[in-house]
């Protein structure tokens, strides 16, 4: 790419109509000239070949992704992780902000993903390692999406739960119990004080616990406990399944009394979630399988905050994410980036409830609350409630006790 060609992939912010562009922040490591690498990064994710042979045209003004800012933040002798065949010489570590014209594909999640984390960014000449760090959408793009139906405010109203976290519990044993036994332990935990007893993200619609039968059992018990305690209670059913079953399973689960539904975002795909959102009568909650496979490492893949934003955009009311503590192997900064992505301004899209999870119990509640600095979160122990030595009732009660203590009550 000669210098003149390269210039077609650079622009000044003030020269663009930002309504037409997504803003993408990548960190990349390259061998060779960083400006050339950044130009290729734009070219590969948009107008790879911007003119026909023998035709005097340039498709880039409208269709090219364009570098707005490029900074070399470090140089080093080697790539941060060993990778195959990436050229020689010193490595430049760069941050780049790119304006990507969303009119190239329109307000469609699969096409968005194909452009921003597809072949373009991950196979750009000269760039051996790259991570999509963040994304911003203009309102012209956001207005095509529904986002969360209920959001934090809607969930609080429905659960009549204010000025405190929402207390979830993952019913355990998660795999192997028949519906009635499963309902019995959920009953105890609801009676102990849980707002929401939930299916594990791996418990779906197997023959030893068919979703319809499980929802019938748990829906019935949930109604009984709500009546008995005078408190709203939700059973959160996991309807993660093949995408052409999602709407039917929604109907079955809601009919039986599920108050909210869990759908594993990446395994079904964000687009399937968006489809379900159009149909949904109850809040949708995301779980995070697969995300770590591309979000764990600091210098390669996709920052989990990007996935949080996309889950919110797809219509989730609640996003469960890897939380604090060594077991979840997620830096505190990253957890907080994801938490903030749930509530940061996003045009007409409502905030969703963040649920940082992982090996929690009454003992970890004060620390999580301190880090969150707000009551707007969900707390989701599993074994911390259901393996409590005195049983699930005591496990759930221990959360409320811990909260009362935090509040000095």
């Amino acid at each position: 790419m000669n210098p003149e060609d390269r210039a077609g992939f650079f622009a000044r912010t003030q020269d663009l109509n930002l309504d037409d562009y997504l803003l993408l922040d990548y960190r990349f490591e390259c061998s060779g000239d960083p400006e050339l690498a950044a130009a290729h990064l734009c070219s590969e994710q948009s107008t790879a070949q911007w003119q026909r042979v023998g035709v005097d045209e340039d498709l880039r003004p409208q269709f090219a992704a364009k570098v707005l800012e490029l900074e070399v933040i470090a140089t080093q002798d080697e790539y941060s992780y060993p990778i195959p065949s990436t050229g020689n010489g010193r490595i430049s570590v760069c941050q780049v902000r790119i304006a990507h014209p969303h009119g190239n594909f329109g307000p469609r999640l699969p096409n968005l993903l194909s452009a921003i984390v597809g072949e373009g960014p991950f196979f750009t000449p000269g760039i051996g390692l790259i991570r999509l760090e963040d994304i911003q959408f203009p309102e012209t793009f956001l207005q095509h999406f529904q986002g969360p139906q209920f959001g934090i405010a809607g969930i609080r109203r429905a659960l009549d739960a204010y000025d405190r976290p929402i207390f979830f519990g993952v019913i355990k044993p998660n795999i192997g119990l028949p519906p009635d036994a499963f309902a019995d332990i959920a009953r105890e935990a609801w009676l102990g004080g849980l707002d929401i007893a939930k299916d594990d993200e791996m418990l779906a619609d197997p023959d030893w616990s068919p979703l319809a039968k499980r929802c019938a059992s748990l829906g019935q018990v949930c109604r009984e406990v709500a009546e008995q305690t005078g408190r709203p209670k939700w059973y959160l059913a996991n309807i993660t399944d093949e995408v052409d079953r999602l709407c039917d399973l929604h109907d079955v689960a809601v009919e039986c009394g599920a108050g909210a539904l869990l759908v594993n975002a990446l395994p079904v795909g964000l687009s399937a979630v968006r489809m379900l959102r159009r149909h949904a009568q109850v809040p949708l909650m995301a779980h995070f399988p697969m995300i770590a496979s591309f979000a764990r490492l600091a210098h390669f893949g996709i920052h989990s905050r990007v996935l949080t934003r996309l889950q919110r955009l797809a219509g989730y009311d609640v996003v469960i994410m890897p939380g604090f503590g060594p077991r979840m192997m997620t830096p505190e900064q990253e957890v907080m980036d994801c938490v903030r992505a749930c509530s940061e301004p996003m045009g007409p899209i409502k905030p969703c409830l963040p649920v940082p999870g992982g090996s929690d119990s009454a003992a970890t509640l004060p620390g999580v609350y301190a880090k969150m600095g707000t009551v707007d979160f969900g707390f989701v122990p599993g074994r911390g409630v259901f393996a409590h030595p005195d049983g699930p009732h005591a496990g759930a009660a221990s959360l409320l006790q811990a909260w009362a203590q935090i509040r000095g009550e």
Copy 2:
């Protein structure tokens, strides 16, 4: 986990009915005892808590994932990539084969993914880095899937193309041309000898090139060229879009004369592909956006061969994958692993056509053919055809000339 508990996550192959299990090969790096880490790896991906408090039961015989083989292949001072909070001490590099009971979730792709690359494997205590290296399915699982409808043999029959690779070309400029101009350059390439002129994986259904209009133009031209040359020709339309549009776009495209359809596997989700497969009247072709984000690194994420197997299982007739050469940053061994995954025995599931792609042209055909060692592959240049200095007709013809030369004709 005490030694007795640990034993519940180990088994001997001869003691299991392998019809009931998927076989999963992981490579992992752990601090601490490798046997304990492997037991946790099984526990976390299946029966995390295998008994109720106060109940004398053990759900593991039926529901636990179980270690069949464990080998420590190296020890080292540090993890291969720096990661947050992973304990102290020497790191063991391990290979493990796990039998995972598929009855935990049934023959459903989203639930399969949630188990094998979900929270379990990526958040196992003690395991800082892990990669799913391979998967094998028993026929009892495979029999629930359709797999490819046409497969390699069906594609050859329809294209009347035997004893040679199938010649694809990615129409370029990929983004920005209106349908009629796009059809004009496709015409040249078909006349030059391409079997299949295809949309770029980023070209979908935008207002400047609506799919229906594009398919009408290219379908018409494709029929004209087929008649003129007496050779079957396909237009491969990219219908990647929101999942609830896939079947409708299939109908529109096929009605207009698209001979095959491209769908980006991970962006729409494998389950949506499986849904489309049930509906499809023409071959389905996969492209690879997103896969590199978890498959690039040797010691973390998911080996791309696993994705090849899953794409075949979901029903793709053709799988485009990162091919040979430095630009694609994929070791030759890995390309060949993916190629083999297209044709290795898989019960009732037909072979699919591998298309290793990336910056190809007539000049790279001999090398690719030599590496493949078979004619059963697709060859997919983009700029190698459509940026040929003498135009797309000459670009396409150059492929056939290169092939004739290889065959000494």
